[in-house]
């Protein structure tokens, strides 16, 4: 995958707070820098503050305090310059039901101050396989197609920064894969992408960096690979020749788990530790006369990391 990202910041969020009346703190002291050309995935459970954060950056919601800079410009003072480079695909399927695909996409382009460019609109609609539906009213489209229309609208004014708020929520596998390809293509062309998602696999597949937000607080921002290396654990699966009813007392220190009706022992170890304990475990197994016929290892997924982090912060 080609990466055009630099360390140059494209969005800088400083001390951002959002409190809804009477005292619900949707965002608390958010500090975050988004690098030019990267794909940044913002993960968090429902109500964590992902959409509020995006809404503030895009100008839909006003912050209670703090500031956001896009290309070094304040989003409130220099709203024309900052908003014109941002595209947003909202979470909800909010569309003008009675409009045609072509009109609604062209409308958005105009709204962002760009002169009509039928060629560009055609290119986007073809990319999103919407060309055949260009004269169709949006109300007649399927949910997946409506989602594509929202993406087409967000791309209509050729933005440098694209926000995708749960872009693949409720879409089928095929469309999800199409969107991933599209996002990668956009990144190749230098577009910075910030996506929020519930699908950990999406972040794992797409993102360069990951931010985890919970209860309005950004609890972690890390390079995806570093995150997985730092927080990742590995599991060793030992397939036994004879099933076990319980783990022998001698093996208690290894905190082993039995799986597959006692036919498999699972050992979880820290890849960062100086000693993983594998050698000692295998020796103790041998001394305990426990024989195995196969073994394999697996890395913990981003989902495991995410769940663990949320547990820690609850």
């Amino acid at each position: 995958m080609q990466r055009n990202q630099t360390n140059q910041s494209v969005i800088r969020i400083e001390g951002l707070n959002k409190t809804y009346e009477p005292d619900f703190e949707a965002l608390r002291k958010i500090n975050l820098t988004i690098r030019r050309g990267e794909i940044f995935a913002l993960l968090g459970p429902n109500g964590a503050g992902k959409t509020t954060l995006i809404s503030i950056i895009c100008g839909i919601t006003s912050p209670t305090s703090g500031r956001v800079l896009i290309n070094g410009k304040n989003i409130v003072r220099d709203y024309r310059a900052t908003r014109s480079v941002v595209g947003l695909v909202p979470q909800e399927l909010t569309t003008d039901a009675f409009e045609t695909v072509w009109h609604t996409v062209s409308f958005t382009r105009g709204l962002f101050g760009k002169k009509p460019n039928p060629r560009h609109i055609e290119k986007i609609l073809r990319q999103l396989t919407l060309w055949a539906k260009k004269d169709e009213r949006i109300m007649n489209l399927s949910g997946g197609m409506k989602r594509r229309v929202l993406i087409a609208k967000a791309l209509s004014h050729e933005p440098d920064i694209l926000f995708l708020d749960e872009p693949t929520a409720g879409v089928d596998v095929e469309l999800r894969k199409d969107m991933w390809d599209l996002v990668r293509g956009l990144q190749k062309n230098g577009v910075t992408i910030i996506l929020t998602t519930h699908y950990i696999e999406e972040a794992e597949e797409m993102a360069d960096r990951i931010g985890i937000i919970n209860r309005g607080e950004l609890i972690l921002v890390e390079d995806k690979k570093t995150l997985m290396r730092k927080l990742g654990t590995k599991r060793l699966y030992l397939e036994l020749q004879q099933p076990l009813e319980k783990i022998p007392a001698r093996l208690k220190p290894y905190d082993l788990k039995l799986a597959n009706d006692g036919n498999c022992i699972v050992y979880t170890y820290d890849t960062r530790a100086k000693k993983t304990g594998i050698t000692a475990l295998l020796q103790d197994l041998s001394e305990s006369k426990i024989k195995f016929r196969d073994l394999n290892t697996s890395k913990s997924s981003l989902e495991d990391i995410f769940v663990d982090l949320l547990k820690e912060n609850t």
Binding site: Y20, S55, C58, G59, I60, T61, S62, Y79, R80, A81, T82, R83, S84, V86, L88, P90, E92, T94, T95, D96, A97, F98, E99, H103, S106, F107, T108, R109, G110, L111, F112, G113, K114, K115, K153
Partner: protein, 253 residues
Amino acid sequence: MNTEAVKSIYIFEMNRARRTIFQSIISPVISTALYFIVFGSAIGSRITQVDGVSYGSFIVPGLIMLSVLTQSIANASFGIYFPKFTGTIYEILSAPVSSFEIVLGYVGAAATKSLILGLVILATAYLFVPLQIAHPLWMISFLVLTCITFSLFGFIIGVWADGFEKLQIIPLLVITPLVFLGGTFYSISMLPPLWQSISMFNPVVYLVSGFRWSFFEMADVNVGLSLFMIALFLTTCLVIIWRIFKTGYKIKD
């Protein structure tokens, strides 16, 4: 200035009117034609003249105002309420457009639609009654000012409303009675003195009176006062809209 955005909103709204041409133009024209038949022909035959003008002709400016006022409010309020209702308002709020440009797009389109409607009704009136316009430029000026002012008022209602019921309440319970009691079908001078005084608190009286003057050079109140009252209402609406965008009232969280 983001002229492309203003143009986009304006064209978008005008396209909506084209889609709903029956509701926007044909329906009000049919209603007005019915008023001509009922008030002009049936009742008007018993009221021969008002201040030297045949009753059928006398009611024309009032009828135009009736439609223009209600349609200005309906067009502008629906124009801004609908994106709020469907959620597409996010686009407007996240676009590089100023509040002035948003108002210009929505109110400009609503006022244009009302102006077209007013002129269509005027043309329809020629089919029913003899009509002469003493001051055509003043007539157009009054009409344009009224279209803009009440479209601004409709925009405020559209922002304020958080349901279709609220969207209808002001036009039905406030505007329609004010128009009917504002000298649309009669001259204020025909009322008893007490009701004449009470009518002076009705802003529509000034609109109808000024507009009627541009047709027949007859007015219930001084033309200058009519213009002043329209300007006052226009300024009030502009100030309210400015406050709406400054505070984000019912638009931004």
